[in-house]
Assembly symmetry: C2
C-alpha cells in the first residue's frame, strides 16, 4: 500500500461500476484516507450497511453526491424532488459527509426560461437550508460547465453559485469548485478569492479535446489535459479551503479499467499535479 | 420571392457547400437584403470577382468571417497570423463589410496558460487596431461558448470581450453577440446593456441537446432549441444595436439540405422567433 496525500479523496464516480464495499477496498488499498460517496451505491448497499462499511474502513467521507434537480415549477414533481433532497440531507448526516453536492438541474421540458429556472434553484435551497443547518450538512452548489446548462445544471459559474450561497449563512450553503467545470472562466481567480469559506468542496480532473460523443464523459486524470492545476489550487488554498480534495472522473475508458489501477493512477496524478500546490 | 426581414442577413456558413455565386443566388431568391461572408469562399472566387458578384447582387455585406487565431507566443507563426489578419481587414474593407469577426484561437499546443493566451489576444488586437480604424472596419471579438475554450477561442464571455474592446475606441473594436455562444451566461443581460454601441454583430441560432459528436456542428434554426430569443433580442435592441442580424448555423443536416430551402427556412424561423422582438 502506497500512501496517498492526506487530503486526497477518491470520488466513487471515478470507479463507477464498483459497489460500495469494492470502492472502499480500492480506496484503502491505494492508501487514501477519504472517499466521496454517491447516493445510488450507498442505497444499493443499504444506508445502515453503508454506514458500517464506512465506519469499519476508517475512511473519512468527503461529500455525498448528490441532491438538486429542482428547477421545475411548483407541483407534484417539485415536491418529490424536495422530499428526495431532504432524504439526501439525512443520508449525508448519517454518513458523516460534511457536504451534500447539489446539481441544479436543467431547463424543464419545453421551457426557454433559464432566468426562471435559476430563480427556482435559489428558492429550493431556501426551502432546504434549515434542515441542512440542523443536520450540520453544507449544501454545496456545484456550478457545471455551460455546455450542460440546458439539460443538467442551470448554475453555470462559481459567481452565480456564490450569488445564491451568500443569501444564507456560511457553513449552511456553499459552492463546489470542480476544475473541469470552471477552468475556462475568465473571472475564476476573483470568484475563488470571493468564495473564501464558501468553498464546500474542491474536485479535480482535467479537460481535453476532442470531447467524446457523450460530453458527460469528457473528464481525464489531472495532467492529461489543459487545466492549470497549479494556479487554481493555489487560489483555492489562498481562499482558505482546508478540506479534502476529490478526484472525480467520468470517463468510459477509466470506468472500463480495474478499480485498483484507477485508484492508484488517480492518487499518482494528484501527487504530481495538485499536491505540490497545497502548501 | 418572399420578402425577408429588412435587417436579416444570411451568414454564408449556413450554406457552407455553396460557392459565393450560389450563396448570393440563394440569398436573393429567399428575399434577403444582406449576406455575411466567409473568407474561404470569397478567396476561392477571387477577391475582385467576389466584389463584382456582391456589387451586382445589391446585397449588403453584414460581416466578414473571420480573423483571429492569434493566441500563440511571439515568433514566426504569430507573425504569419498577424499578416493574415491584416489581409482580412483589407478584404473586409474591399467587400464593404462593416465588421471583421475575430475568433481568438485556443491554447497553443502543450500550454495550460489560458491567462497568458488571453493577454496575447488583447495584444494582437492592439497591433491591428490602427489598420482597422483606417479601413473603417470594426474588429468584432466573438466570445465563443466555453466548450471551445481550449481548442478554438479563449475568449469565452461577452464581458471578457468587452474588457478587451473597451481599451480601444468604439467603432474600432467591438464584440459579437451570438446567441448560441452566450445564451447560458448568468451575466448576459448586464453585459449586453454594458456593450451598448460595442455590439458589432448580432448572430442568431439555437442550442439543443444532445450535442452531436462534433460539437462544432451543434447549431439549430431559431425556435428548434431552448434559447430565449425574445429576451436576448430585446436586450440587444435596448442596447442600441441597429445593424443587420445574421442567421449562422453550423449543422451537418442543414449543410446537406438544398441551399434555397435552407435560406427560406432560416428566413422563416427568423420571422417567427426574432423579428417580433425587434421593435
Amino acid at each position: 500500500m502506497s500512501a496517498a496525500h492526506p487530503r486526497l479523496s477518491l470520488n466513487q464516480a471515478t470507479i463507477k461500476y464498483a459497489n460500495l464495499a469494492e470502492a472502499v477496498d480500492a480506496t484503502l488499498l491505494a492508501g487514501y484516507e477519504s472517499i466521496g460517496l454517491w447516493r445510488e451505491p450507498v442505497l444499493e448497499a443499504g444506508l445502515g450497511r453503508s454506514i458500517r462499511i464506512i465506519d469499519d474502513s476508517g475512511l473519512r467521507v468527503s461529500s455525498l453526491c448528490r441532491g438538486g434537480f429542482f428547477t421545475m415549477e411548483e407541483g407534484p414533481s417539485r415536491r418529490e424532488s424536495m422530499d428526495d433532497n431532504r432524504r439526501a440531507i439525512a443520508e449525508a448526516h448519517a454518513l458523516g459527509a460534511p457536504a451534500l453536492v447539489l446539481v441544479a438541474g436543467g431547463l424543464p421540458a419545453g421551457s426557454r426560461d433559464i432566468v426562471g429556472a435559476r430563480a427556482r434553484v435559489r428558492d429550493a435551497i431556501a426551502e432546504l437550508a434549515d434542515e441542512a443547518a440542523a443536520a450540520d450538512v453544507t449544501l454545496a452548489i456545484e456550478p457545471l460547465h455551460p455546455m450542460y446548462a440546458s439539460d443538467r445544471a442551470v448554475v453555470s459559474t462559481l459567481g452565480q453559485a456564490l450569488d445564491i450561497a451568500e443569501q444564507f449563512p456560511s457553513g449552511v450553503v456553499g459552492a463546489v469548485v470542480d476544475t473541469f467545470h470552471v477552468w475556462w472562466d475568465p473571472d475564476l481567480a476573483a470568484q475563488i478569492a470571493r468564495a473564501g469559506d464558501r468553498i464546500a468542496s474542491y474536485q479535480v480532473c482535467d479537460w481535453a479535446t476532442p470531447l467524446p460523443s457523450d460530453v458527460l464523459l469528457a473528464r481525464h486524470y489531472p495532467g492529461d489535459g489543459v487545466i492549470d492545476f497549479a494556479g487554481i489550487t493555489a487560489a483555492v488554498v489562498a481562499a482558505g479551503y482546508s478540506g479534502d480534495i476529490e478526484v472525480e472522473i467520468f470517463n468510459q475508458d477509466v470506468w472500463n479499467s480495474g478499480y485498483d489501477a484507477v485508484a492508484a493512477r488517480a492518487r499518482d496524478s494528484f501527487a504530481a499535479e495538485v499536491a505540490p500546490h497545497l502548501s
